[in-house]
């Protein structure tokens, strides 16, 4: 199946020009980037463009997190926002979850008061946008007492409500008379209302200690709790968003490295052949004879005890992402290299390359001017394949404890941490991390399909 490179493609048979003007227009076909047939086909592909937009959004968020006025700082994702393992979305308004939140805030104030320096401890008591109201310690103590009083009242109301509910169930099981049943149901409604009122009263008391944020802060605070909290009471939503930066960082570095190295080595091997070709083929068959997980384990083994400090970062190498980059880079360039080598070999025998050689073009010029444009789409496709491979690989590495080090969150770290929660039927952390990752990886998968559709003449849909 000989491939027809775009450079030599005969002009499509055009409609017979009816007048001089259109004939001239045909003669001077625009040759800008957006007029190439592949690009035009790609731009017309709606799902492809949508995925490109999604990916751009992710990259923008990643950049916003990474550059100085950080959208989300590392401190923010590591600090607690409330009690641990809280549900998100609608479930946050579940009465039991609300009781837990109130209990948590009262408990934290009590702990601070019990410490040796209550004032300092209170001043430090801060959960993102929510902090203790500035007032004298005595007043706080009083507020805490009234908070606990409200809590006791709530407890009573809750017990009454639950008793009433149990009674209804018993009556239903016994097949009691309708009148009796209706009475019991009325009691449930009444106690439920009492319970709700007591809960509201408790929350008002808690609000006196920990004023709910208002305005913009309230919005941010809600956003933090939108997907619940993890075991340590940290915001799942913010951790999942921050992980975009981690994923983009790993994906960009390794994908860029692998396509650049893959293109250079593959192009050289395919184009020059001979000893260069043998050396490159030998190199990649050697490297790919060990799966990357083994490479990674070996690399981790090497870096684990290393005390070598990375010059610019000022951290020991085991605390950086460098082992992860190396492990992915070592293996991911091989795919690109194979494809480019095959394509370069094919292009080499094309007529237009022969003519370029015969008019005395240098090999370098031929590579840049004639070969590179024809393999560009392959580089894009392989870039997105490598990106996806790196993001998905990071999860596996983080699970094995070899991935993202320190307190930096990543989807892999989140999925690993969620393991114990899932056993208890809590899916918030797993769900948030998986969803974020799914959107990005799915977009990349769609993008590479769209690129293939648009640029690969052999591609079958």
């Amino acid at each position: 199946m000989a491939q027809q490179p775009r450079g030599t493609k005969p002009a499509a048979p055009e409609a017979q020009p009816t007048d001089l003007l259109s004939a001239r227009a045909g003669a001077h076909r625009p040759t800008g980037f957006f007029d190439k047939p592949g690009v035009r086909k790609f731009v017309r592909n709606r799902t492809g463009m949508a995925s490109l937009i999604v990916i751009s959004l992710f990259v923008i968020v990643a950049v916003a997190i990474a550059i100085p006025p950080h959208l989300i700082s590392l401190d923010q994702v590591q600090s607690r926002v409330g009690p641990g393992t809280q549900p998100g979305f609608g479930l946050a308004s579940d009465p039991y979850a609300r009781i837990e939140v109130a209990e948590f805030f009262l408990g934290e104030v009590e702990k601070a008061l019990d410490s040796s320096e209550p004032e300092a401890a209170l001043a430090e008591l801060r959960f993102a946008e929510r902090s203790v109201k500035m007032m004298p310690v005595e007043e706080i103590e009083a507020a805490l007492d009234s908070g606990y009083e409200a809590f006791d009242l709530l407890d009573e109301a809750l017990i009454e409500f639950e008793d009433a509910e149990i009674e209804v169930e018993e009556l239903e099981d016994d097949g009691a008379e309708a009148a009796e049943l209706a009475e019991a149901r009325a009691a449930v409604a009444a106690t439920r209302a009492e319970f709700a009122a007591a809960l509201l009263a408790l929350e008002t008391e808690v609000d006196k200690l920990f004023p709910s944020p208002t305005g913009w802060d309230a919005f941010v605070y809600k956003l933090r709790l939108v997907a619940g909290t993890d075991r340590q009471g940290r915001s799942i939503a913010f951790r999942a968003i921050y992980s975009i930066k981690t994923a983009t960082q790993i994906g960009m570095v390794t994908a860029l490295f692998s396509i650049i190295v893959g293109a250079i080595l593959g192009g050289a091997a395919g184009f020059f052949g001979g000893i260069v070709d043998h050396a490159v083929v030998w190199l990649y068959s050697t490297l790919s004879s060990i799966p990357y997980i083994i490479w990674l384990i070996v690399i981790a083994f090497v870096f684990r005890e290393s005390t070598w400090h990375v010059p610019l970062l000022g951290k020991p190498v085991s605390q950086t992402l460098i082992p992860v980059y190396i492990a992915f880079s070592v293996t991911l360039w091989v795919g690109t290299c194979r494809v480019i080598r095959g394509e370069a070999m094919k292009i080499k025998s094309m007529d237009y390359i022969q003519s370029a050689v015969s008019i005395g073009a240098s090999p370098f010029r031929i590579l840049i001017k004639h070969v590179l444009p024809n393999v560009m789409y392959l580089l894009f496709i392989n870039f997105s394949l490598a990106f996806v491979a790196a993001i998905k690989g990071e999860v596996i590495l983080s699970y094995l404890g070899l991935g993202v080090p320190g307190g930096q969150p990543s989807w892999g770290v989140m999925i690993r941490d969620s393991k114990e929660d899932v056993v208890l039927g809590v899916f918030w952390e797993l769900g948030a991390a998986t969803l974020m990752m799914f959107i990005l990886v799915y977009a990349f998968n769609i993008l590479s399909d769209a690129l293939q559709d648009a640029f690969d003449p052999k591609h079958v849909g």
């Binding site: 004879s289 060990i290 799966p291 990357y292 094995l400 899932v422 056993v423 998986t434 998968n445």
Partner: protein, 322 residues
């Protein structure tokens, strides 16, 4: 044919020699002995450990000793982590559990993926094809680990609690084996194998579908149809044989990923396979076992590469002549 096999073997030997050398060199970048011994170990203890494992000798001597032990299958060096066992005694029992996952996983995933791909290709462009491919891309976009976590939750916890069917164990437990090979395999290995199959399904189906669709345009298919073959006969008899080359390549290419997958599954389900053993011993700074397992895994890959080439030659006689 035999000359072809010999050529492939000869071609792969230098590759393997270099792999072993690279691995050995990498593992020595950071002194393995000081990583293993505690910080306040004396110089004498260090020297003793080095001498015991021959680390005080020149690199090339160590290299040839390593090669000799691989060629003669003599793994009698002491493990650093389980000090009463030799490296061979550590690695030996871990091979079978790994094979119990990888071989069924490879078999099932390939067979199911080919059948699904044939169905999709036969209905190319229709709703069933588009639906299957959509599911495939969705499956490709979810992490392996998520499949494992959810698979274990629903297969081992949820199923037992909600329906009372205690089909799968949560994790491998050597003390609870019943002794019945098949029953034990179903209880402890079937769930990991199923997860592995589901994970590879997305990639494999898409790939095989592309291969098959490419073949459907070939002349011989038109001829077969013209002489009145049924659609099923064309698909399964004529087309499949010709699609075999890319399929074999694919199966062999997925081998490394299978090891990765089985490593994860082994760790997650506490199955004492090669991957889990490697990880445990690496985390405990067991230099001897780490080095040997990596060398053995590399040997397995090289052998699978050779096997791929030989299979090519069997399926397509043109290959061995080129």
């Amino acid at each position: 044919m035999w000359s072809y096999v010999v050529r492939r073997v000869l071609y792969n030997i230098p590759i393997y020699l270099v792999i072993v050398m690279v691995v050995m060199a990498m593992l020595r970048i950071n002194d393995p002995v000081s990583a293993y011994l505690s910080k306040n170990a004396t110089e004498a203890e260090r020297a003793l450990k080095e001498a015991e494992f021959g680390l005080d000798q020149p690199f090339l001597v160590q290299y040839f000793q390593m090669l000799k032990s691989i060629v003669t299958l003599d793994f009698s060096a002491k493990s650093w982590y389980q000090e009463t066992n030799t490296v061979g005694q550590v690695i030996g029992p871990s091979i079978l559990p790994s094979l119990k996952i990888t071989i069924p996983a490879l078999l099932f995933s390939t067979l199911i993926a080919i059948v699904v791909a044939l169905i999709a290709a036969a209905n190319r462009g229709r709703a069933i094809d588009r639906g299957l491919m959509f599911i495939a891309v969705v499956g490709m976009s979810v992490s392996f680990l998520v499949f494992i976590i959810l698979g274990q939750y629903f297969g081992a916890f949820w199923l037992t609690e909600k329906t009372g069917v205690d089909l799968f164990a949560v994790r491998y437990d050597a003390d609870r084996l019943s002794g019945n090979f098949a029953a034990d395999w179903v209880k402890y290995f079937l769930l990991p194998v199923m997860i592995s199959v589901v994970v590879s399904m997305g990639y494999d189906t898409r790939f095989y579908r592309t291969v098959i669709v490419e073949q459907t345009n070939a002349d011989y298919i038109r001829t077969a149809k013209a002489k009145g073959c049924s659609q099923a006969r064309v698909m399964f008899i004529h087309l499949l044989r010709n699609a075999m080359i890319p399929i074999i390549t694919r199966v062999m290419i997925t081998m490394p990923f299978l090891i990765v997958g089985s490593l994860l599954l082994e760790v997650y389900f506490s199955i004492p396979g090669m991957g889990a053993t490697l990880l445990t011993h690496m985390q405990n700074k067991d230099f001897a076992v780490t080095q040997t397992i990596v060398a053995i895994l590399a040997a397995i890959f090289i052998l699978s590469n050779i096997l791929t080439d030989v299979l090519y030659a069997i399926v397509d006689p043109r290959v061995r002549l080129s």
